[in-house]
Symmetry: C2
Subunit: 353 residues, 2 copies
């Protein structure tokens, strides 16, 4: 694994000790899979990993890097201060995602604590070869699972029953867990971008939005498809094609060097021409990796320039509360020239137009 | 529902606007089930709920309280400041669990922001009648699901396959989702308190620790049982009985008025007499409700006095890295006189001693 290499990169330019607490960063830097731990990285010394008693054995088994594992009882902030001071430092860098309560506890220890964007969060934006393979595997399993449950998309079946079977298949096929709560939204419920599967039964003429993905070896997939039940209303198709065109437009633009907000802006402009821009109520996409939502953000205010090795969703959607919604989502890897779409299922499943 | 009543209690004694951001508190106060939102509660005015475009329709459907729903784009901190100032306030109270990044963003708006323990976190410690019923239902479904998959606990079956079927059954029986990642740990893996289900196949003479629970109507169950495969090693039974006695000891002590640390301390003292105290590597228990881990904490440093209506786990465990671990967990409701154990499955399932 790349843990030694990652830690070396993490330390580059580091002038003060840095405290890592986010579980995704602990997994990325160490391979630790527990939910709670505190990694103190020094510029020039073996890192110290503080964990509570539940995780001592697990940490020793899972961590693939030379670290000193130290159990803490209740005086964690004090333990951290002592480790910082005894190594000749006064100042501690912390993640800007730290909770105020713990941040204040550190500062009450006479420790100068400065919140910054974590180096590992920034490193995680560009995926390594191994990480790309894991995401591809998560995509394959997610797609295969949807194929397996495809026959359940028929009149009378409930959203939540399909979601349950889809989640089951994703794990049966080798996934660890669902990467996020599966969305299965039929009829007008498709107008809720983050609908929870309900007892709503599909009706003939419905379309269903499925937004799903599995986690494999710690990495997520995130896809959205539209599935039609019988013959859907003819008003559906023109709007479906607008969303599909918007997605294709974004995908032709994505490559190393383009700004994320330009891609998002092009889709917004296209929707404006089609007079539906006010129904596009979210951003165009987001990075996917160990977390289901991570950097870079593809939205109007994003300051990111896309780089080779980023993996992002491209998910335009339009939502009409009294009619329904349509969203399509691919997982796209930025390349030097153009990009590569990692998923391959048809965007619409069901009866043809 | 009790949302109006809860909001009234939340506002009692409130002198400044308070910003609620934790999803569990948004669910408790509003009924909102989305993952992100910002509720600004004023001492004497209709609350404002800020959410992004994905949640506007959902918020209007789900929220069971009079609030003003306001979509934000990217200037949330500014929107909040303006709402605070325009209502004649200068100071904003925030949760001490807020992330430093957002806290700093609020402070950069010339807003005096003070982190405190959220009133709703404190209110949630005492369960209302309706909440107790939901937790009981979650317990019933969790227990029924374990009964259904009991035949899978036999030689040659893998931990992760049992976990998958158990999770499936919990949802099939009416649960929304698993309340936390199910633990199924056989053989020496039972020594890892937070083991993830692996490809380890049960062997004859193994015992398996199962720590599981489902979420129903927003409320969690959390239970642990030991399941034996065939005839287990004779060294198992004396230690099993020690853990069982420890649990019973704690349960006889729990009632309104006792300090949480006294209950934890009694178990520690009992384990000391049995010379196993250093293998008990975690706290005795924790509150369970909308969150799987919430207040009160039952540990050596807890300052809580137990009150009627608290629901806590009682989960002593001892872990020997080279041999295995034993943990038993009940869900216990504190009453004026004594307590009520909410679960009823035998503590050990499998062949008898």
């Amino acid at each position: 694994m790349n843990h030694e290499k990652r830690m070396a990169e993490f330390k580059t330019g580091l002038e003060h000790p840095f405290l890592v607490t986010e579980r995704e960063d602990l997994f990325y830097l160490l391979g630790f899979q527990g939910s709670t731990g505190f990694l103190l990285v020094f510029p020039n010394k073996t890192p110290v990993f503080f964990c509570d008693g539940r995780y001592v054995t697990q940490a020793k088994e899972e961590i693939e890097l030379k670290v000193e594992v130290q159990e803490f009882k209740d005086e964690l902030a004090k333990d951290i201060k002592e480790a910082v001071f005894s190594n000749g430092y006064q100042k501690l860098l912390v993640e800007d995602s730290l909770r105020v309560r713990f941040y204040e506890r550190l500062r009450n220890q006479d420790l100068e604590a400065a919140p910054i964007l974590s180096p590992s969060r920034q490193m995680r934006v560009i995926k390594e070869k191994e990480e790309i393979e894991k995401i591809k595997k998560a995509v394959r399993i997610s797609e295969e699972a949807l194929r397996k449950v495809k026959p359940l998309f028929r009149e009378g079946v409930k959203e939540k029953d399909v979601a349950l079977e889809l989640d089951y298949q994703m794990r049966l096929l080798g996934g660890e867990e669902v990467a996020f709560p599966t969305i299965v939204a039929g009829g007008r419920r498709s107008a809720l971008p983050h609908a929870r599967p309900s007892s709503y039964s599909f009706k003939d003429n419905d379309w269903v939005i499925v937004d799903w993905g599995v986690r494999v070896d710690g990495y997520c997939a995130d896809l959205t498809r539209v599935i039609t039940i019988g013959k859907v209303d003819s008003s559906f198709y023109p709007l479906f094609h607008i969303v599909k065109e918007a997605q294709q437009l974004a995908e032709t633009l994505i490559k190393e060097g383009i700004k994320a907000k330009e891609v998002d802006g092009a889709v917004r402009l296209f929707f404006k021409e089609k007079k539906v821009e006010r129904y596009f109520t979210h951003s165009l996409g987001h990075g996917v990796g160990i977390e289901i939502h991570e950097d870079p953000h593809l939205g109007p205010k994003s300051e990111v320039t896309l780089k080779k090795g980023m993996i992002v969703t491209v998910e335009p959607g339009i939502y009409f509360p009294d009619w329904g919604g349509i969203r399509l989502e691919n997982l796209v890897m930025v390349q030097e020239k153009g990009n590569k779409i990692l998923d391959s299922l048809p965007l619409m499943l069901g009866e043809e137009e």
